[in-house]
């Protein structure tokens, strides 16, 4: 071989080593992720917070509460166990964690961002979500992280605040929210998928929510009924102010009940005998608004522990079972019934009956979440029967809503026969296994009942 060629080749080989490998490790797609953003705006975060809130309020928790409240029943597989109170500390992990991660982490970012920008309305809206989620978590688990929650840099292992402190903090947050919502900010705010940034609607919602959380403390502190009444007076004033999830008929933004009961896990959960029996006994038209019959011509529900069969009823495919059913979470109706209960508990029975009938009358006009139904006014009720009527009405109206559990724990109405082999309906869900494993020094031992719910309901 030509010796020049030889020399050239000898030189070329090491040259390859040096050529072009400066910054070989720093290519454009090497250190930036080509498909995921590394920053998020408050608007983007708020859209996701709403999705997280709806998943929290109308997902697995709503199914569990509905089974325990016997408006639904677990009729197959794991839901047979869940429906009869056999749950482990690993079963409702996401329901415990979702309000914190990502919701509160992102809400805190929005709150900081909007405080800096001085957008009080946006700030107020995020504070309402903050309070709602934390209030819901304390309703279910009792003592929970609140003051140190979702601040990972400062508090990698948040302490568990006492439940009464969390409720107090939630009320303060709502007060701040109401005050901020009275200020100025971006209106309309299209990423607010509920009220489009309408601050008046948010203020009313915040008051209803304050009333709701006051009621939750009333078993431990009866003075809360008056506070609940005062707030309900300022709460949602018409069905136009209802907080309703705007589900669509598209997969991924459709109603969780439809997804679960029809698309994903048919038969795992079926309509519950207790609600169906109450509606049937009263000849209440909501029976057929909620349900359709199965193989049996009658609308038949399942008792706790009963296995699925063809005879069982189903959710009305044009109503509660529709893919785009507009699920109510907080409504004018609930506000009226809070008022009715609070009036009753503060000694104004005629006022209570009036509020109850106002709520029943509201059914006469169709809303996004129910057709127009004519419900006769109730008369001649007083004493225990009046309370029974108010709470039974609320049990029916708040079908599928996790608030029914709080009402039951406080009033024991309607009386529920616990699933076979149990003396009581559980008052809480055990703390999350992940929290126990990772934050063991702070997670309290699981108590039998929460502070706000000292007394179990007696079995009928």
């Amino acid at each position: 071989m030509n010796r020049y060629l030889k020399a050239a080749l000898t030189a070329a080989m090491p040259a390859v080593v040096l050529a072009g490998c400066n910054d070989f490790l720093k290519c454009s797609e090497c250190d930036t992720n080509p498909t995921s953003p590394i920053a998020a705006s408050s608007e983007q975060r708020l859209v996701a917070v709403q999705a997280a809130t709806w998943e929290e309020m109308n997902g697995d928790l709503a199914r569990l509460v509905s089974m325990w409240m016997q408006t639904m029943a677990g009729t197959d597989r794991q839901f047979l166990s869940y429906g009869t109170y056999v749950i482990g500390d690993g079963d409702y992990e996401s329901e415990f964690s979702r309000p914190y991660r990502p919701a509160l982490l992102d809400l805190r970012a929005i709150e900081q961002d909007e405080s800096e920008k001085g957008d009080q309305i946006f700030l107020g809206i995020s504070q309402v979500y903050h309070a709602w989620l934390m209030g819901t978590v304390t309703d279910i688990w009792g003592d929970v992280p609140f003051s140190q929650a979702a601040s990972p840099d400062s508090f990698p292992t948040p302490v568990y605040d006492a439940q009464q402190d969390v409720y107090a903090g939630v009320q303060t947050l709502l007060d701040n929210a109401i005050s901020n919502l009275g200020g100025s900010g971006t209106v309309p705010l299209p990423v607010d998928l509920i009220y489009n940034g309408d601050s008046q609607s948010w203020i009313e919602l915040a008051h209803t929510m304050k009333a709701r959380f006051y009621l939750h403390t009333a078993e431990a502190d009866p003075t809360a009924y008056q506070k609940a009444l005062d707030e309900a007076e300022l709460g949602i004033s018409s069905n136009a102010g209802d907080y309703v999830i705007p589900y669509t008929a598209n997969t991924g933004s459709d109603n969780n009940w439809h997804q679960f009961m029809i698309r994903e896990r048919a038969g795992y959960v079926s309509p519950g005998a207790n609600l169906i029996d109450i509606l049937t006994d009263m000849g209440d038209p909501r029976l057929e608004a909620y349900f359709v019959h199965g193989d049996d011509p009658e609308i038949i529900g399942a008792a706790p522990g009963e296995k699925v069969t063809g005879k069982l009823a189903a959710l009305n495919p044009d109503g509660r079972g529709a893919q785009d059913y507009q699920q109510p979470l907080v409504t004018y109706n609930e506000n009226l019934l809070i008022k009715a209960e609070a009036l009753y508990q503060t000694g104004d029975e005629p006022g209570a009956l009036e509020a109850l009938n106002a709520e029943r009358a509201a059914w006469g006009t169709a809303t996004s979440w129910h057709p127009a139904l004519s419900l006769p006014a109730l008369t001649g009720l007083s004493g225990d029967a009046l309370l029974e009527a108010i709470m039974t009405e609320k049990y029916i109206v708040l079908f599928q809503n996790i608030e029914t559990w709080n009402d039951y724990k406080r009033t024991c109405i309607p009386a529920l026969t616990p699933a076979a082999g149990n003396d009581v309906v559980p008052g809480r869900i055990p703390y999350s296994a992940t929290e126990k494993q990772t934050n063991g020094d702070n997670v309290p031992a699981d108590p039998e009942r929460n502070w706000n719910d000292p007394n179990a309901c007696p079995a009928p």
Binding site: K6, T10, M13, P14, V16, C27, C30, N33, T35, S36, P37, A39, A40, Q44, R45, V47, A48, V49, A51, A52, E55, G59, D60, R77, Q78, S81, E93, S94, E95, F96, S97, R98, Y100, R101, P102, A103, L104, L105, P145, P152, P156, T157, P158, L193, T251, G252, Q259, I262, E264, G267, G294, D295, K307, T309, G310, T434, E435, T438, N439, N442
Partner: protein
Amino acid sequence: MRTIVRWMAGVACSALLFPALAVAQQGTTISGKVTSEAGTPLASVSVFIEGMNLGTITRDDGAYTIVVPAARATGQQATLTARLIGYKSQSAPVTLSGNITHDFVLAANPLRLGEVVVTGAGTENTRERLGTVINTVDSALIQKSNEPNVVNAIAGKAPNVNITSQSGEPGASSYIRIRGIKSLSGNAQPLFIVDGIPIDNSTVATGASTGSTVAPNRASDLDPNDIESINILKGPAAAAIYGAAASEGVIMITTKSGKSGPTRVTLRSSYSIDDVNREIPLQRKFGQRVTCSTPDCGASADSYGPELAPGTPTYDHFGELFHTGHSSVTDLSISGGNDRTTFFASAGYLDQNGTIIGPNNWYKKTNARLKASHRMFDRFTISGNVAYTDANGAFTQKGSNTSGILLGGLRSAPDFNNFPYLDPETGLHRSYRFPHPSPASVTRSRSYDNPVFVIYEGKNDAEVNRTIGNINLAYDATDWLNFNYTLGGDYYADSRLEALPQTSSAFPTGTVTRADMLNYEIDHNLTAKLSHTFSPSFSGTFLLGQNLHASRFRGTWAYGYNLIAPHPFALDNTVQWESDESKNTVHTESYFGQATANLYDQLFLTMTMRNDGFSTFGKSEPRAWYPQASAAWTFTKALGNDDQTGVLSFGKLRVAYGETGKPPGVYQTLTTFSSSSFSNGWGDYLNSSLGGYGGLFSPSAPGNDNIKPERQKGLEFGADFGFFNQMADLGITRYRNTSTDVILRVPRPPSSGYSSALLNGAKLRNSGWEASLNIRPITNEKISWDVGFQWAKNKTEVLYLNGAKFFDGGSVSGGTFSGSYGAATVGYGFGIRGYDFARCGITTLIDISDGCAGAPKGAMYIDSTGFPVYDPEDRPIGNAEPDWTGSVRTNFRYGKVSISALIDHKQGGVIWNGTRGALHNFGTSKDTEIRGETRTFGKDFMPGVVAGPGAGTPVVIDDAWFTDLGNGFGPVASQFMEDGTYTKLREISVAYTFDQPWVGRSLGLSSIDLRVSGRNLHTWTDYTGIDPEANLGGAETLIQGIDYFNNPQTRSIVISVGLNR
């Protein structure tokens, strides 16, 4: 593209018609014949002139001819060497002038001590000098296995290299585990190197790994027939040369090359008949609990109905889904060349039709390869190697998925006929829970799909086009300095379609998933090697190298929902779409060096150092070092035994230490926001973008800018012995590999705002023994017989999980199932966690003290009703790691007939039989046939030690038990953990070679091989699930040993014919 391949195959075939052109002009011709000591002519012996890059291989009659061009034959002295694997090489001095005849008689060297072993990244060594154990699987063994997936061909052939195939379906993936589990993320598959360049061996199911369909592991794109040998680097002591990419070991594949000499043509064709090897026992005595007859009525899910009247037709819901499958493989290879140019060209076609009935269970693969080498100048050789694969498959839904064929099939009531799957009146999907579809049910769920409907009406396709190739330049600058450069590429496009028709249970309105994946890797590897002999007793080499590697992945998944018309399964025919996109790029830049020393031809030392930089490493430590050192000492030479004879004919001691790594996943240093959805494990979910507005939320873990590669440190020592004139050999290896800085998604309190953090810190250890014993009692011209035993034991210890007691994240969990999940547990190892029945001395969360006084620890507590109770404390309930694995292989040859067999054994290792658990609930499991009968726990039901107030109380076992605590959906998973011990007759074959003169005279061929083999003919096991070898997630999940409606494995009879010329 397939047309082109067929055409190329046609061209290649026509080459058969032309006789090879002899290349003979002038100069010196060296010819002769090579025979064994027994007198047999030896074919395929490499005969070459050292230092001149001239050589050939012998023909079937042992004859060879080398032509030295006149310009190079100047009467000089040269060394002529004959080398064949399994024989001692032999050299002879020749003078290059005139015509020379030299015959060789090679002595058998069953230890293959002189065999050159590729040791990675451009390094090689002879087997005698290796300080670590490197197992080799050669082409003959690969061919005998009859496995179209090269990974399966390794099964049972190397100790502690355990293969698990996902199922027997065409195109199913196979999982490799070498010396235990070393990491907590990914699927932990070894690095695959083909002819010096890394190739992708990922496994990606179109949907969820636990549902969806099987998917191939991409190394199956290789044509097994192209493979000359596979070398396996098992531990860090051997694999350190590959640094941060090699913690799971390295599978190094060398493809066949042409040899100078006459053109050789081989056409091999095989035909295989396959059927399902095991089935799930089902009861056919009791019928569906509640049947129904009105339009769109729902019948009960379970079969706890009345005992069926005699004569009631019942159906074989397992057997009806399977039939006999058949596959064919045709491979043509042509190779040859002259003293400057050699080539190997091949084409292969695989056509597999699987054992699932219907049109959607097949895999077809077309391979073509051209490998050629040309010596442009005496010291400069250029080579190229390009292989193309076209693979297409159709699959069926499996596993944990309401459309999975066995999920719906095995739950079907025995008295329900799944045929016809379409209602005769409405033409719509009927199933045992939805037996009478009305015309209004076009988009209604059937709860579970009729499996026959899914088989015929579903559509799950994959189309892969792949090219792997390289260019190699070798330049011997001087006698002591060699340069070698390889530029390689691996490119594939993988296009998938997965469609569920309308009325399918998971998507009653129908869905179409399209996935397109593109993977592109380029590898640059440059080495410079210096060799020097300092004195007769001291020589050495020094190698320096650089490697640059770039890999890119592009994936898009588009999901269409709500089919407009029932067909076609196309995105445009759906109402609504969602998408996923994945893109990533990883660059690596590495430098390595290796020094070897040979002292007195008996002590061999090797030192290696590699420095790796990966673009995925965190900023605090952007580069990492991986050292290695080993020593091998042939002590029998020190004892004066140079010729490998006597009782202890050979003895070598070896010790090696090395380190390897595993890089962090791509983009783990970054905190990125998610735009995915919120869900709860039951299938319902809500997108984070709603109302036309984009939503983003914080990730579950922040990025970790300081993430480092995982590090594995391994110490390995052992000895190799030859006995009785090398009639037997024994190798023993002991190793201990410690994995540190293992990346772990450490759970954080979700209430802190992040639910996990990605950290280095976990520590795992694998230690074990490996042994192999080969005996060749008879080796002569007429008869030869050899037997080989392999045995291996590995123990994986989980030493530290950053303070956590167990870890069940990511691919460790193996999927989410009721009552059981995969986990790594400190002090226990990897396996399944879940719940057990309450047991004396173990249970703490519930009070069972009333009955445990005096009872032995572990006694199952029986309460006053006579039944056991559930212990709500989750704990490890089964370790999937085998106690040991072993295999026995034998070959017996009598004249032209040879018989061989391979038996593979796995001792221990627990499998979760989730199928049985689920079928308890549905009353179709054979176990449930005893319903209504009286049994006593601990005696004739769940035998074992029992205690408690109800111990010994007979109870009626009925559906209340089987659908409650005795049910796989209930909490107690421990009752479905089964011993996965098995013995498999993996291979047995009888072969005959026709090489009589008539073969050449009448057919123009040199020989014909005829072989009849059985593959996986029998499995001996007590496991009651589908197969103790199956794994639901295939090669996608780290945890193996999960059986949940897995599709079955197969057994085959294979007939193959090889025509050689």
